[in-house]
């Protein structure tokens, strides 16, 4: 039973951690982040399975995590009030070519970060951006101004 409890505790901890570290950290996956991800995965695995090398143990862990993930997803779908807590909410970062500084600062986004994200979407200048929204996934989505 303790292996299921350990899985649940680690799931909740990681879920909360991912919600509080901020989207700035979630949006990029640079080489260092990738290495960090592997290290994190390894540390978490030790805590969850410990010295249990059995297939049964692995099935319990995977099933627990899958079940919790589906439960969170279901709650997110069924209870709209929980969505801001479970999933977060988008934030408008740029409107009509102007960066909303308070919102960008809140998410620890610099002008360079926003410009870089715009370039990745083939937008040369933020002046061409009507809306830039930091999505709950941590990605910046851009809507360009209408040309006419």
């Amino acid at each position: 039973m303790d292996i299921a409890l350990r899985s649940a505790v680690i799931f909740v901890f990681i879920y909360v951690l991912m919600r509080i570290v901020g989207r700035r950290e979630l949006s990029s996956l640079e080489p260092f982040d990738l290495i960090l991800l592997v290290v994190l995965g390894d540390s978490v695995q030790q805590a969850v399975t410990q010295d249990d090398y059995s297939v049964t143990g692995a099935v319990i862990v995977v099933a627990t995590i899958a079940l919790l993930q589906v439960s969170v997803s279901y709650l997110n779908f069924k209870v709209p009030r929980l969505r801001p807590i479970l999933d977060g909410e988008p934030i408008v970062i740029v409107q009509d070519g102007k960066v909303i500084e308070g919102n960008a600062r809140r998410e620890r986004l610099t002008l360079d970060d926003i410009a870089e994200a715009a370039r990745l979407q083939q937008i040369a200048s933020l002046q061409d951006v009507q809306w830039a929204v930091l999505e709950t996934s941590g990605e910046l989505s851009f809507i360009e101004k209408q040309k006419n």
């Binding site: 509080i20 030790q46 410990q50 919102n103 809140r106 929204v133 360009e144 101004k145």
Partner: protein, 199 residues
Amino acid sequence: MFESCRAHSAVPGRRTASRAESTGVAEIPDSIVLRRHRDLQGRHKDVWVRRGLLTLVAVVPILGLFNVFGQRPGKPTVATSAARLQLYAPSRARGGLLYEARFRITARQDIKKAILVLDPGWVEGQQMNTVEPSPLGQASRDGQLEFTLGHIPQGQSFLLFTQFQVNPTNVAWRRPANVELFDGTKHLLTLKHHLTIYP
């Protein structure tokens, strides 16, 4: 109509958008509510909740640095006119960890037959991998572990090393792990010790 769209058209921020639309500027993206997603109305406390939780997360490693979760060894000592016993062992550990417990017995008087008696808490949910030097005898004393060490001349010390590994499933809160020293049947001293095992 979707709820987000209803909310969208109900907020004052939408008025701005209507003006924008009439001047040909791109519409507000669907499900974006300016009052909430741009002006962050009702969301100002969110950042403080996030910072508070992040502080809580930061507290964990700080507590770890201060040995709250083990396994830095302590040196509890008890001395009587007959002997002095010093234990070098952590009182806090975590599941799966390896650690050493060292018992130093200094004879202030001649101890003819030194016997070290450990509470069962020493081996409850953890493995005793090594005892060096090997005791002359091992036995159970009413559920306690008894190690016969033999003669310790006055003024000399006997150093007993033991290596432990905590079972991963072991969890304990201040489990008694006292140590007693006897000379044959004569009780010389008791060292109070306890073990806390974090999951």
